[in-house]
């Protein structure tokens, strides 16, 4: 039955044509426009040479890295706990922890405002305890919590899938050889989970780098890369700078995901 070329073409062609017309051609154009400003090709280096752009880039990378580390730490503690203990209410807890899987960034931003905004939970609890109005939503702290909210369900699912694949016999062997719980965690469990950490960490990092909705909801003056691109494009009408910055951003997220994929051997996808 081997090859029937026309059939294979018919299967693949619609997808290819769509990607070509609405992705490859537009992205190429974006890259060209990025180099069309006063600075020419040097526009691609403004994340290094322009002090404001460099500062925003640094803040975005730092924020995304912190979110990634915090999400991985939390998800590992929670994931190990939920995988190794059976207790009433466990299933409910697990669904609560993974339900926000596809909440949009704007909605997450609003949820953070309900917690830490001017009329938020912490503000009113703070007032009634005499600690003053505790407001943290409209800042980097709010953004950090928003991205944490966004990443936990996704990373938790990947980490728990990794734990399930973990070879119980190896853990048993380590135990019978006299290893303590901490030693098993350090020398057996965590190394075995490394592919899951790399895959889900990369998604968390790339998502935090490119996310726009949460920052947009919390405050338009938070200095992260997507907000900078947005203001350059809409308020300054500086298309070349916006194009160059988005190409740089796209390259960073693409490379992080590609490296993670080659190391962890899994197909990972960002979202949001």
């Amino acid at each position: 039955m081997r090859r029937s070329l026309s059939f294979d073409l018919a299967l693949a062609l619609p997808g290819l044509a769509f990607a070509l017309a609405f992705f490859l051609v537009p992205m190429t154009r974006l890259a060209l426009v990025g180099a069309s400003g006063e600075d020419g090709l040097a526009a691609y280096l403004t994340v290094l040479t322009n002090p404001r752009h460099a500062a925003v880039m640094g803040a975005t990378v730092l924020l995304s890295a912190l979110v990634t580390v915090a999400t991985l730490a939390i998800s590992t503690v929670v994931g190990l706990f939920l995988s190794r203990h059976v207790f009433p209410g466990r299933a409910v807890l697990l669904s609560a922890l993974t339900l926000p899987l596809a909440f949009p960034g704007v909605v997450v931003g609003f949820l953070i405002i309900l917690l830490g905004g001017r009329q938020g939970l912490f503000a009113s609890v703070g007032m009634s305890l005499g600690a003053g109005r505790i407001v943290f939503a409209y800042s980097m702290t709010g953004l950090f919590l928003g991205y944490l909210y966004f990443s936990i369900p996704r990373v938790l699912l990947t980490v728990m899938a990794g734990i399930e694949k973990l070879d119980r016999e190896v853990v048993e062997a380590a135990r019978s050889l006299g290893a303590g719980p901490w030693q098993i965690l350090r020398d057996v469990t965590l190394p075995a989970l490394m592919p899951a950490f790399i895959a889900s960490g990369a998604v968390a990092f790339a998502t935090a780098m490119g996310a726009f909705g949460t920052a947009f909801t919390l405050a338009t003056d938070i200095d992260v890369l997507p907000m900078l691109i947005y203001t350059e494009f809409t308020l300054q009408a500086n298309f070349a700078a916006a194009a160059a910055l988005s190409i740089v951003l796209g390259l960073v997220t693409f490379m992080v995901l590609a490296v993670a994929r080659s190391v962890a051997g899994t197909t990972v996808a960002a979202a949001g």
Binding site: V107, I152, K165, A211, I229, G250
Partner: protein, 265 residues
């Protein structure tokens, strides 16, 4: 020692669950509270939901329309493409897969700018809801393809097809009567994901929308910025009513399926 560790881990887990669920509960409560500042004691009401309906019903309809259209297009393009990739595991098809799944790895903002640069001047297209549809298809297509490919690979669809071929069925016949029915679990999983993601998509849509083509998340951002908290909450409540059943269905499917081995490539 053991016990302390258990209590500590349980504490962390409960704290994280509270962090995720308390604001959701607050938002739902605020959407049906007469006056948020005076609390639930001020009475429960549906007047905010009604007000949201009056202001934003159009965005809800448009979002449903776009989500369904996105589903149709991703089915028509994605299922055949997934079968192509499983059927022909060659270097060239890997390149094809890379290209089609690339939009997931690039932030929506960048894709939206690129689309605006090339098609922003085509007025009829720019002003219509199909402009947003294109963005949503780009973003969700990889999810459909991966879900379908995962199933086709796990059931060894190529051997199935060879069986059908030996009985004399043509390639199209085999695709429609053997492959598609067998891919159904993947198609259902992919469809749920596509509709969920489309309904909530904001990063692309915010840049692509016009005042005449506002989707639900665009309206949400608008209400967060300019409406009182009760209206914003009631609107979010409507969004939750639409999206949470889908998310629960996705959870169910994930739970019943055996642990996915490795990942589809």
């Amino acid at each position: 020692m053991r016990r302390t560790a258990f209590v500590l881990q349980l504490g962390v887990t409960l704290l994280v669950a509270a962090f995720l669920m308390v604001p959701v509960a607050m938002s739902i409560a605020a959407g049906v509270t007469a006056n948020y500042m005076r609390g639930i004691a001020s009475g429960m009401t549906l007047k905010w939901v009604a007000e949201v309906w009056g202001l934003y019903a159009g965005t809800i309809g448009l979002s449903l329309q776009i989500a369904l259209a996105t589903l149709v297009v991703t089915l028509l393009i994605g299922v055949p493409a997934a079968w192509f990739l499983v059927r022909n595991p060659s270097r060239l098809s890997r390149v094809f897969e890379e290209i089609v799944t690339l939009p997931v790895a690039v932030p929506g903002l960048a894709i939206a700018l690129a689309l605006l640069l090339v098609y922003g001047g085509v007025r009829d297209f720019r002003a219509s809801w199909t402009f947003i549809l294109v963005g949503h298809v780009l973003y969700t297509l990889p999810f459909m393809m991966r879900a379908v490919m995962a199933v086709l690979q796990s059931i060894d669809a190529r051997t199935l097809e060879e069986g059908a071929a030996s009985l004399g069925a043509s390639p199209w016949m085999r695709f429609l009567t053997v492959i598609v029915p067998n891919a159904r679990p993947g198609i259902v999983a992919g469809a749920l994901m596509v509709v969920t993601l489309s309904l909530g998509e904001f990063n692309l849509t915010w840049m692509l929308h016009t005042p005449m083509t506002k989707t639900l998340p665009v309206g949400l951002a608008d209400s967060y910025a300019s409406m009182r908290l009760e209206i914003a909450s009631a609107y979010t409540l409507i969004f939750f009513v639409m999206i949470i059943p889908l998310l629960v269905a996705i959870q169910r499917i994930g739970a019943t399926r055996p642990v996915r081995k490795g990942a589809p490539r």
